[in-house]
């Protein structure tokens, strides 16, 4: 009520425009926070779903390379491809000292015009 006391000459004791604006601002910031929480949770769910699908693709790629290693048809180099909205690619390079094959798998996808990516690295004997 300090706001009212500052203007004692005023006849009208109702809400001033300033008070109304403050009240609306407080209310809308409260609602905004709640709505923000909803959209954040839906975004988190979308991210985890995409990550899960990307990991499935990575597992597939890894199993395929393991299979090639087992059949001794592994070759150094890289390969790229696309499955649904996921761009996958891998690079195989043999380490000169240990003779291990270093395998890098990258999976990238677009979510809301931004690029998300997972990268995995492993060594094959």
């Amino acid at each position: 009520m300090a706001l009212l006391n500052c203007c004692p000459k005023k006849k009208n004791k109702g809400l001033s425009l300033l008070e109304l604006i403050v009240a609306v601002a407080v209310l809308s910031s409260g609602v905004l926070v709640v709505l923000q929480a909803f959209s954040t949770s839906s975004r988190a769910a979308a991210i985890s779903k995409d990550t899960m699908k990307a990991v499935l693709i990575a597992q597939d790629t890894l199993q395929e390379i393991e299979f090639k290693r087992q059949k001794n048809i592994i070759t150094e180099g890289s390969l790229k491809g696309k499955r649904d909205k996921f761009d996958w690619g891998y690079t195989i390079a043999q380490d000169p000292d240990s003779k291990l094959y270093k395998l890098d798998i990258d999976i990238a996808w677009l979510r809301a015009a931004r690029e998300d990516k997972i990268s995995l690295t492993t060594y094959l004997r």
Binding site: V31, F38, S41, Q63
Partner: protein
């Protein structure tokens, strides 16, 4: 200061206040309702991807543990929409984990994915009383493709067969396609390589 006659609220003031309050409540209700609808959608998608992951992981484990019964009959039967084979499964008896052999099959019954698992002595009995168990509902399609090494050509593996008979041994790999159709349609694909296949 002028003294007002009526110090209480007039009916009009009350009506206006109530209307504004109702408007605010309505806004809050609408936003919460939208939130709840969104939550339901998300929950359904999460349940779908979780069961897809669980199913694919289960099939992966069974296939990678599978073995051929004999040279001329591997007991591996692959069809476009169902699959059955012999495998090793972990069996929990009491507090011990034992690996036991089993006959496992996956197929759709309506929109339900059924997994049959006949352990030990029951494994080779065609007329067994053991029934398939439901893994998940809401599945529209389950299909398999079988990978093998062609006798000619340099390709290490091709996936142009949609059925596989037991006398051909084990396939090199199995490509699985799983389509869920609850309220949202979602497709999951995995290729599983059988390290034990010749």
């Amino acid at each position: 200061m002028k003294i007002k006659k009526s110090k209480g609220l007039t009916l009009t003031e009350l009506l206006i206040a109530t209307a504004i309050f109702a408007l605010v409540l309505l806004t809050v209700y609408v936003s919460f309702h939208a939130g709840i609808l969104g939550f339901r959608n998300i929950e359904e998608e999460i349940v779908t991807s979780q069961s897809a992951r669980q199913i694919l992981e289960r099939i992966n484990l069974d296939l990678r543990n599978s073995f051929a019964y004999s040279l001329d009959d591997s007991k591996f039967t692959g069809n476009p929409n169902d699959i059955s084979f012999l495998t090793l499964v972990d069996n929990y008896t009491g507090d011990k984990i034992r690996q036991e052999f089993a006959f496992v099959s996956y197929k759709l019954e309506g929109d339900r994915l059924m997994r049959l698992c006949r352990l030990n002595a029951e494994a080779l009995k065609e007329e067994s009383a053991i029934l398939a168990e439901e893994m998940s509902a809401g599945i529209e399609e389950l299909s398999f493709k079988y990978g093998y090494k062609p006798s000619s050509g340099s390709e290490p593996i091709v996936f142009d067969k949609d059925s596989w008979q037991g006398d051909a041994g084990l396939p090199l790999a199995v490509k699985i396609k799983l389509v869920f159709n609850n309220s949202v349609k979602d497709t999951f694909e995995r290729t599983i390589f059988l390290p034990q296949a010749q």
